[in-house]
Amino acid sequence: MALAADGGDGMTEEVAVLGAGMHPWGKWGRNFVEYGVAAAREALADAGLEWRDIGAIVGADTVRGGYPGHVAGATFAKALGWQGARVTSVYAACASGAQAIDAARAQILAGLADVVLVVGADAAPKGFFRPAGGDRPDDPDWLRFRILGATNPVYFGLYARRRMARHGDTPDDFAQVKVKNSAMGALNPHARYRSRVTADEVAASAVVADPLRLLDICATSDGGAAVVLSSMEYAHRHGRAEPVRIRAVSTVTPRYPNTVLDLPDIATDSARAVEPPGETFRRSIARAAYEEAGLGPEDLSLAEVYDLSTALELQWYEDLGLCGEGEGVKLLRDGATALGGRIPVNVSGGLASFGEAVPAQAIAQVCELTLQLRGVAGDRQVPGARVGITANQGLFGHGSAVIAVR
């Protein structure tokens, strides 16, 4: 068994996914609590449990519901009806949902709770994400807007252009990611965008941040997702002989010096005094998950990755080890990552079809793995799916990967 480089001693015990639920993504204009509660009730029903049976609730915070999602864990608990459950609230930008799952898992593995409800929901504003108001020059996220006007798509544009220069990727390659994901999203009733998109339509959409166009960049959405997790012993006691299991949750931070410009930073670390680590932050997120699971990219049936932009999906292929550095376009063009391919990526339709509902998104990725591993994903089912990975990266050095198996 490999020793995890993060200081852990390799594989951890598994937890069971007893239930998964989602509120459809869209622009519904309602309170995020409503989406979260709808997802939670669906997850509970899917698990065959009552809310009163739940020993702990973990909420993934949105920052757009006021005071971090009114402090999400307790807000969802109150809306479901106070029943005394242990509560935890988690904020980790785009990785909030995965960290909420990790917090629930840790409570289960520590014996603090047998069965835990994890909920994330968001009601996103129109247009660019932006920092909260007021003068906050100590906040790096506020500074990049104040000093540079560097929105999230500006960073996505930098990464895309860098790929074009290093690997020869083209805007049409990027558009093909949208074509693939929109075709799969068209099959998903929870997706916000359910129309197939052509490469010509991508090319005809407005440039937002050169070389990326509107249809290369994910929208911001309303949505909610929830899962019910339990100990394996609890699952067996409740008649679940072979539940979907979470085998790894990676939540590692970067290593100094981090030499890839990350949101919301204005500069990278300097590698003048210390040689950079042998792998990028994104690669280390995946490696830690593989090590914890005792699995590798060759074992995967499918992957759900954070396609904040089309070009970033290609980067994830390489960072997850689905192909070599610079070979993302070839993997895509060969059809390997489409439904029916060797390693389908974003069969849910991805962020391209959902738009991002930040604290719900990483949970939604795990919901998709759960459906796929149960074999109940309908028209978008990956035949015989046994192992899936999710991956995401958010602001401030947060990232995550979850590996689930059946």
């Binding site: 932006r130 104040r146 540079l148 560097a150 050169d210 990278t268 670390d269 300097s270 005094a273």
Partner: protein
């Protein structure tokens, strides 16, 4: 009355014309360089922590990547709603001596068509925006050999 020239953020750059420089800090113990400046603790986890002293960064570097913003950014970026938005180019610049990448806006008039990964650029003083009393100054990146 002339507007006062005020840096949009204090202590990040200094000087005029050819003497303009971005300012970082350097750890006296491990020689790590930080921009934006780190004034309290060295962030190298292998360093016990030395004194952090101000140091000017290299004036010139090479384009790591570039992009632009075709839509006006939201606040706290300041835009004039009376004026139509002119796309603003961004350049992420690799500084060889510091072995780091620093993002900045391109100088006015520079578009993505003028840029390529690997192109040499230099830091120049720039204006972010003006209000009734103040000209808010910043840094811009500009390809070398191009004059304002």
């Amino acid at each position: 009355m002339a507007r006062a020239r005020t840096p949009v953020v204090a202590g990040w750059f200094t000087g005029e014309g050819d003497d303009f420089r971005l300012l970082g800090t350097r750890c006296s113990a491990c020689a790590s360089v930080f921009f934006p400046r780190e004034d309290h603790h060295c962030r190298n986890p292998a360093c016990a922590g030395g004194e952090l002293t101000e140091v000017p960064l290299s004036r010139r570097g090479r384009v790591w990547s570039f992009t632009d913003s075709r839509y006006p950014p939201p606040s706290p970026y300041v835009t004039d709603p009376e004026l139509s938005w002119e796309p603003c180019a961004f350049i992420a610049v690799e500084l060889e001596a510091e072995r780091m990448v620093v993002l900045g806006q391109a100088a006015p008039g520079i578009t993505v068509a003028d840029l390529a990964v690997g192109l040499e650029v230099e830091v120049v003083p720039g204006v972010l925006h003006e209000d009734a009393e103040t000209t808010w100054t910043t840094w811009h990146w500009r390809p070398t050999g191009v004059t304002a």
